[in-house]
Symmetry: C2
Subunit: 684 residues, 2 copies
């Protein structure tokens, strides 16, 4: 007798028996059911969220519960371990086969004997929360858009010529209460084979969005995965997740192969503009990269590619358009019109990806011509729209995307920072890759420097550093170097390298008509030149101006909380960012890294169906600010060039925006005081 | 000033002016509108069905109306030609450019001046009826699932970063009241180019099912076509239709290239069973054939392939499954389980067809393991389910599909007639192709024959017949030959060829242990052998038995009306069919050909969206009768072998089913009487 029959027989017998009180925790739902009712049935009747894929056959083990023994005065129950019937052979077989923790019961085979308080652990709930490791991060709800259902289908009979599909739909309606399902033509193809594979007439189906059968497997099948992709101009990254637990099983990144058509976004758009039809080639290579990553992630996680049922994508507007096969030419010039600014649902096969042929893809919405689906991902991950506190979220790349606001109101803009923060247009600059200097400390007395390099945990004056090959300076390295040089008095407020110090230190050298600081002598020699400082000034001026513009629009003069997203935001030291004036003034402890927020947003949209409507709704109401048409932006920009940011622009904003307190208190032009503070910081 | 602006200005002025009574015919809808309202706007306000693609810009000419001059006592109106404002420059330009019949006005530019009665001709209605040429045929409603809408879209503005799609959707909502549209990713790809093609910011979109944009064209575009396909085992036929008028612009057929895998259905299924994976090859070749026909039809009709937006398909279950890429193995043996028995909506691209990339396909539902989507098409075309009168519809091929019933109740079955009716397994048999004998007359006195051959309108004893090469006998030819031989007394009731007549005519010759009738002497010699008669007896026995089984189930002993569908049904002479007992007894004038009803059904589903839900609903409630499990079928079969059908089976049905009147009255075993009747018929 199958566990299902077992349970049904018992249920039948139970109809005449007296009823028992069942209380479920943590939901608190309670009610009386006939003794002999299975815990799973009781949960369903009382509307308690108790998971199951096999539909009560003791196979999947998703419906595990615990009896909450002891006195429950509130419910008037004295609950013992015997409140449920003893473990059945099915349960023992499951425990022997797959293991069952002490005290755990399978809700589908354990029957209610007496009044009982039953605890449904987090992992037995269909809807659950995954708490993220990062502090400050929102926890992720797991409620995937695709779910698996195991069913037993009636075999066909000559006398009753109903189709295999019709009988499958009957079973799904009978066992799972799923109505009016349609089926993807690709899932139809193997339906008949799958239904007849031994042991015949039982299959697991994937149902997308409660409406469409997208995949079928013979017998019980309990594996459903998804991949969240962040398609960046430089790197394409993917995270393979278990759609049941929401956990990331593998992550991988690849260089975006479009780089051969242009280092940055605009050069790729130019390439498309100059070479008719070349957008097809750019689409082909980026999809190829996503396909390669898909295969790699599946291999790494030991997952069948046909078990990948769902994909999500974020990316800046140009990557978004090229991924979808849309010519990005319009994004290359004013008025920077997006083709679409809504989320897009499509078949993974339309993107040519090697996953289940019924898999679906969801592309998050772009916000504006320069504010892409990656920023939508950042919003989803950082959730400023769910908070009372106003947050400034900054994602720095070739453009900086800036989001400001709270649940009341949200503003977004893009600031043209240029590629300096990514190490480009810097004399010794390079990408953030092994060999790149990412941390810099400069002694204000000796003007000597210590550095740390990507790929090595030791500082250059520590023993572990020997034999490390230093190849260049990455974005965070150049920002720290300039901030430290400023703190050491080498770089003045206006950005000039003080040539008079050349006598005091051999590190300050003449460099044409200006001066430079030698960060590393020898091969290769790495310098911070006057032009490097100018490039960073331009970049940080643009970023700061964008932030100021949004703050002005929002009507606040100070942000309580700043989140730095993206690779640069992860590597940059918040204090150096503040010293240099990259972001508006804020308590340093409230300036934190958000990690790869865009990718996290893609992951949230992957595992939580409701996040998709949530972000679409948020994107619709975000106030889009176009910096290019804001006269105030130019003004803020010019005023934000100085290092540190001089107090003038604050004063000029007038009454509405008062002078920030901390700025005057902590940033002075007194070099000695600044050196002192830096020394203190290092000592602490 | 554009006609739209013209009209809007006038409308603005009109608000303060007095109102006029407008009566629309033939709908009879009436109401008062401000003088100066355009006829199109008045129609929309009063809920009158008046077509328009350009949205009132005087471009499409779809909204043509006529003023119904004279006294309309019923409405209290004395209507003159001046009831509408005089023709506008836009109307004159339209008339000069595309022509406008006397008295016709463009409803979008003609404004209401006085009380007026306006006639909306059939062709200006969105929903219209196409009357079919065939008598007895239902007229076809034209209401395609895809419609075109012309719109003017706001250009993008730097300060307001809404996407092109968002502004397009705004325009569709504003001008056409279309809400919550989604867009097919393939239509998105060229959206930005199309919007900017000169003259920029006006496009025509195709909206599928009122919900999804599937295609976009720059500027005004007024061409939307569809193709209805009938995928037969032998022939694949397609009809290209104008989705606006419902008219067939081109028809073409191709041999089904699957023939190289097996002459008939079952040999193809066997091929698939014996060669793992070969179903993919069969799918590939049949789709290739459909693709080739598509290109051919477009060429013939002078239609752009990208203007083909909709496709429909009918076919027997095996063709249906193979077209969809479903292994037909299950259809090769009991219990003959279909993969699906519902209609299927898919993208034409999933079938690899060279049409608009956003085109959709609709595959009509199969009914049972041997009763396919072709029969669903026959039902749609013949519409027994809409009639009070009970109709028997028979579609003869290798299997005969039989449908019986009326609006109350509908039954369907398939009878295994074998391929004899298609000329196979007949000694001199061949397909219905040029050179095949399709008509036979035998003189009961001389036993000499006259024949008519496909490809020549003359009989063999007429002058025009010289030089016609006769190659064989097709299905309708062999049926007529046997019926005529029976009427001439050469073939007895039990099917035996009477060898004693060999002395009377040289046409009766010895053929091994039996006799044969020489239909054509010379090269090639064409005979009707004893075995040929047996094959036709088996086939007609099966067909008759199937009909009897359904009649018995339905509880009637006589059908008032018989429709013969398909190629065989078109060529067969109803009287011969009755003489031979192919179908149950019926008044000969009520036995008529239904033509290619399956193809017509595909055409109806193509041009009329509601026909799809209609046929799905009908197919769900059809009572499916499986002849193989009906003991009564064997009994009917054995009893139906005789020529003509002896009266025994009727008697044996007992009280419930009385002996049909006509049978006893007109069919006798008296050869003389029979010859007399045949002579009378020929003379009349």
């Amino acid at each position: 007798m199958s566990p299902r029959q077992e349970s049904e027989t018992k249920r039948g017998e139970a109809e005449a028996t007296p009823r028992a009180l069942v209380v479920f925790t943590p939901s608190g739902r309670r009610g009386r059911v006939a003794r002999g009712t299975s815990v799973l049935d009781a949960a369903r009747r009382l509307g308690v969220d108790l998971d199951s894929v096999c539909g009560g056959r003791g196979i999947c083990g998703r419906c595990q519960v615990t009896v909450s023994e002891g006195e429950h005065a509130k419910h008037g129950i004295m609950c013992t371990g015997a409140a449920l019937t003893p473990p059945t052979p099915t349960e023992e077989a499951y425990a022997a086969d797959r293991g069952l923790a002490e005290g755990r019961r399978l809700g589908c085979t354990a029957l209610v004997g007496e009044d009982v308080v039953i605890d449904v652990p987090q992992e037995s709930q269909v809807y659950r929360q995954v708490v993220r490791k990062e502090a400050d991060a929102r926890s992720i709800a797991v409620d995937p858009v695709v779910r698996l259902y195991f069913v037993e289908v009636e075999p066909p009979q000559l006398a009753s010529p109903r189709s295999d599909l019709a009988r499958l739909l009957d079973a799904l309606e009978r066992e799972w209460d799923l109505h009016e399902l349609s089926i993807d033509p690709v899932a139809l193809r193997n339906l008949q084979h799958d239904l007849r594979a031994e042991p015949a007439w039982s299959v697991t189906v994937a149902v997308h969005d409660g409406s469409t059968i997208t995949a079928i497997w013979p017998e019980f099948h309990d594996a459903a995965y998804g991949i969240a992709f962040d398609v960046g101009s430089t790197t394409v990254a993917g995270h393979l997740c278990d759609l049941h637990t929401g956990n990331v099983l593998a992550s991988a990144g690849e260089m975006n192969p479009q780089i051969r058509f242009g280092e940055d976004l605009m050069s790729r758009v130019s390439y498309v503009m100059l070479n008719a039809g070349s957008e097809k080639e750019l689409t082909r290579v980026v999809r190829g990269c996503v396909a390669k990553l898909t295969a790699e992630l599946c291999r790494e996680a030991g997952v069948e590619r046909t078990d990948v049922l769902e994909l999500t994508f974020v990316g800046n507007p140009v990557m978004h358009h090229l991924l979808l096969g849309i010519d990005p030419t319009e994004l290359g010039g004013a008025p920077f019109a997006l083709a679409l600014d809504t989320g897009l649902r499509l078949h993974a096969s339309e993107l040519g990806l090697p996953v289940n042929p019924g898999a679906r893809a969801y592309v998050l919405p772009c916000i504006a011509g320069h504010v892409g689906a990656d920023t939508a991902g950042v919003i989803l991950a950082e959730a400023p729209h769910l908070s009372d506190e106003v947050t400034l979220v900054v994602d720095v790349g070739t453009n900086a995307e800036i989001v400001l606001g709270n649940r009341e109101r949200l503003l977004a803009a893009s600031s043209p920072t240029g590629p300096a923060f990514e190490g480009a247009q810097i004399s010794s600059g390079q990408r953030a890759a092994p060999g790149a200097i990412e941390r810099v400390r400069i002694d204000p007395e000796t003007l000597e420097s210590r550095v740390r390099v990507i790929g090595c945990d030791a500082w250059s004056d520590e023993p572990g550093f020997a034999d490390v090959r230093v190849t260049g300076i990455c974005g965070s390295g150049i920002v720290e170097a300039i901030a430290e040089l400023h703190l050491a008095g080498v770089i003045a407020t206006d950005g000039t390298i003080d040539g008079s110090l050349a006598g005091r230190s051999g590190r300050i050298v003449r460099d044409g008509r200006t001066y430079a600081y030698v960060l590393q002598a020898g091969e290769p020699e790495l310098r911070v030149t006057q032009n490097d400082v100018r490039q960073i000034q331009l970049a940080k001026g643009a970023l700061h101006a964008g932030c100021m513009l949004l703050m002005e629009r929002y009507g606040i003069d100070r942000v309580p909380r700043i989140r730095l997203a993206g690779a640069f935001g992860t590597h940059i030291d918040p204090v150096h960012a503040l010293v240099l004036g990259l972001v508006p003034d804020c308590e340093p402890e409230h300036v934190t890294s958000a990690g790869n927020a865009a990718g996290t947003g893609a992951r949230i949209a992957l595992v939580d169906r409701s996040a998709r409507t949530e972000i679409e709704e948020v994107v619709r109401r975000v106030e889009k600010v176009e910096t290019a048409v804001e006269p105030r932006f130019q003004e803020h920009f010019v005023n934000a060039m100085a290092i540190p940011h001089d107090v003038d622009p604050y004063l000029r904003l007038g009454a509405q925006v008062a002078l920030p307190r901390r700025w005057t208190a902590t940033v002075t032009t007194d070099r000695a005081a600044r050196r002192r503070r830096a020394a203190e910081r290092r000592a602490s």
